[in-house]
Symmetry: C2
Subunit: 189 residues, 2 copies
């Protein structure tokens, strides 16, 4: 039982889903804190079913092959909530951009500004994306298409994504402000 298994349980507690739907859900709303592709989700679902935490129902698809729609069991929900109350280890991030930034004092200042502006743009885009998602779930709540229980969890992780991206954009701006302050550095290569 790794954290991805619990993420799957939580997603299924929000709403029954197929492996395919789960994969898309991970990509859309959970990829900023927990990654998962087909090749990890399908084996995980089989494992969770073996434990009795989830069950599935085979449902013909509107288009494409048959779907296995999974739901969480009462037992699964108990396991999930017990785990959710325990303290979590510190988050771990892997950010190549910061490794590159370690060397920015050895690059021409003008080039550093350009690089940082590029990074800022990418994160500003992501920020807009998550803000759009947040508007989306608020509407789904108003329309009764999402339960209050599922809403809070989704809202919290989206708020975290928004805050995280906003913060990254701010770092880029701060970095652009301090990068050229070193008058000793050459401005061309």
């Amino acid at each position: 039982m790794n954290m991805r298994d619990y993420a799957i349980l939580a997603a299924l507690a929000h709403e029954p889903r197929s492996g395919y739907d789960l994969t898309k859900w991970f990509e859309r709303v959970a990829s900023h804190f927990c990654s998962a592709g087909y090749s990890s989700i399908y084996p995980a679902l089989a494992r969770l079913e073996g434990e009795g935490w989830v069950v599935y129902e085979t449902v013909p698809s509107d288009r494409g092959p048959e779907r296995k729609v999974y739901s969480i069991t009462e037992q699964g929900k108990e396991v999930l909530l017990r785990w959710a109350r325990e303290p979590a280890p510190d988050p771990q991030t892997r950010d190549e951009q910061l490794v590159k930034a370690l060397s920015y004092g050895m690059l021409p200042a003008g080039e550093v500004l350009e690089l940082l502006e590029e990074v800022r743009g990418r994160h500003a885009q992501k920020l807009a994306y998550y803000e759009e998602l947040e508007r989306g779930i608020r509407i789904r709540l108003r329309d009764g298409k999402i339960s209050g229980e599922a809403y809070l969890g989704t809202l919290l992780v989206l708020k975290r994504a928004i805050g995280g991206e906003r913060c990254y954009v701010e770092w880029c701006e701060e970095a652009k402000a301090v990068a050229p302050s070193d008058g000793e550095r050459r401005t061309s290569n």
Copy 2:
């Protein structure tokens, strides 16, 4: 050549270090964006030396066994800077706390507030730690104990760490504000 190898090159470009020193440096200032323990650093140094990006000098230690103090070569610096100019892939985070938060709509509101307050405390501590480190390198710069080139890179990654932790603390506070808003939820188990 993975990103950790470049992080090692960057650290050695800042200042010559032993594998032991590098490990401590990673733990202190780089662990928030790139993890590395002894078992990855020693093989990496051997690899980098084989490529000619770094060289080492054996130096007797004040206390303990002999040290191998590594420095970056001209060739290594070229490789590093060429890489630093290329765009970086998006950062990837693994945060169990957010997986737990997905289920917070299914827990009693009072308990959620307690859990979030605990998390806030841990990140507030980390924030203080990184702010202290930033004060430290400013002093080292003033005292001429760190080069301007090394200073900018270190300052940038510390600023990112500070912003990241500040942001996480803010999320905890925001989350505490929205968590109990769902009047339907039970307040005891």
